[in-house]
Amino acid sequence: MKKPSTHDQEEREFGEEVDSLWRIVFSPLVWVFHFLACYIVTAIICAKMPAGDTLAGLRWFILGITLTSLVGIAAIGWRSWKQWGFVDDGVKVQDLPTEEHRHEFLAHASFLLSIVSFIGVCYVAVPAIFLDSCR
């Protein structure tokens, strides 16, 4: 029986990562959509119905979209954290040309970007708390 090579073994174990380069942009993308949704919807509401009590609705909308975004980013962050596997092997620097290091490096980057995106989404939402008119 032919023994599988180390390379094949690695590829099987970390094979899901063939397309995971994409995953590192997921969190920033959520941040981008949250930002655009907040600003565009606010602009439209203030342009179309500047008077009246439309701002309460706007606030609920921003609260909803913010919580959704935060949950999404937290999920992506959690998944990257698991994939990074820091707790298992304690590796912080992935600088070897191996499948394993590639696998963990992408997760590491994705995890850090999730933190930045989480903070970013919170900051984008802060003005909604203080908004009391379209002026």
Binding site: I119, Y123, F130, D132, S133
Partner: protein, 331 residues
């Protein structure tokens, strides 16, 4: 005997004049005379002190670890420093500052409630001003804003042709003026006095020469001033001023400028009915003395490059003087 000032001396004077001229309070965000400006100044001072403290702290730590006590940090200490000082601390501090500055937003944008409201239109390069009184009557003026102290006056802003920005640093933040759009702000000056405003958005050749003065008066004085402004122009009494009025009408000044009470009713240029009583001429650039009027009319295009008003260089000096005299008399 007089000693010639050395060039270093001159340079030093020049270097001091610029920063110090910003300290007289006429046009300084650091000497607020209005509610909005006071809030902005507080925000600025807190940020400034915070920035200085942080700068000293960060550079102090740098100095300590590189010069005073250079030694390798343990991995744990390094990570605590990076996560604590690089992520947690700035996130919390910036979050607090963000929330604080946002909380100022609503009071900065509060509507005015004074009986008089003002609309200002940006022109190239001057300010068209119109007061609307409680009874609905309108009053045209230019290049000067008078406001009642202690009251919150609503100011609507728009522009003709290009974007300008309305800024009276001692009273409030700035607000852009767009052609075809109306923006607003409210001014709530707390102390009487004279302040200076300046166009804060590049708007063409003479952008830097587009200023105005804001005179903050006691509410009673302000009402009286409005009554005076509503009256037509004063009849000239002296012969020289009478001649000036004739020249004014003969030379076609009335095609562009209004002097209420005379046939001059043009609206392309500023309303001159009470121009002699204003604090400045040519949108904040000359005093309102008869001489300044004469110079302005004679050399308009060199005093304010690319202005629409032509220079009247062809007029004789005596005629120009009569004009200057007449205009100064329109108080």
């Amino acid at each position: 005997m007089t000693t010639k000032p050395s060039s270093t001396h001159k340079l030093l004077t020049a270097a001091l004049v610029l920063p110090l001229s910003g300290c007289d309070g006429l046009q300084s965000v650091l000497q607020p005379a209005g509610k909005e400006a006071a809030e902005i100044a507080t925000l600025f001072h807190v940020l400034l002190v915070g920035a200085v403290v942080l700068w000293i702290l960060v550079n102090g730590i740098f100095f300590y670890v590189t010069r005073l006590n250079p030694r390798p940090l343990s991995r744990r200490a390094a990570e605590t420093l990076i996560i604590g000082g690089g992520i947690l601390f700035p996130t919390i501090v910036l979050g607090i500052l963000l929330a604080w500055s946002m909380s100022l937003m609503s009071s900065q944008r509060e509507l005015g409630n004074a009986p008089v409201s003002v609309s200002v239109t940006g022109e190239q390069w001057w300010w068209r001003v119109q007061y609307r009184r409680e009874d609905g009557s309108l009053l045209a003026s230019a290049n000067e804003l008078r406001l009642p102290a202690g009251e919150r006056t609503e100011v609507t802003l728009t522009s003709n042709k290009v974007i300008h920005s309305f800024w009276v640093p001692a009273l409030a933040g700035k607000m852009d003026m767009f052609p075809g759009r109306v923006t607003r702000l409210a001014l709530q000056p707390e102390t009487t006095g004279t302040y200076r405003g300046q166009c804060a958005e590049f708007c063409g050749t003479s952008h830097a020469l587009m200023a105005f003065q804001v005179v903050v008066m006691e509410p009673n004085d302000f009402e009286r001033w409005l009554d005076d402004q509503a009256a037509p122009a004063k009849e000239p009494e002296e012969a020289l001023a009478l001649e000036g009025r004739q020249v004014f009408l003969r030379e076609g000044c009335g095609a562009c400028n209004t002097v209420r009470g005379t046939p001059a009713a043009g609206t392309t240029g500023p309303d001159l009915t009470h121009v002699g009583g204003r604090t400045t001429l040519g949108a904040g650039i000359l005093p309102t003395t008869p001489d300044a009027f004469t110079r302005w009319i004679q050399h308009t295009e060199s005093i304010k490059p690319d202005v629409y008003m032509p220079s009247y260089e062809h007029l004789e000096q005596s005629v120009l003087e009569a004009l200057g005299h007449y205009l100064k008399g329109l108080s």
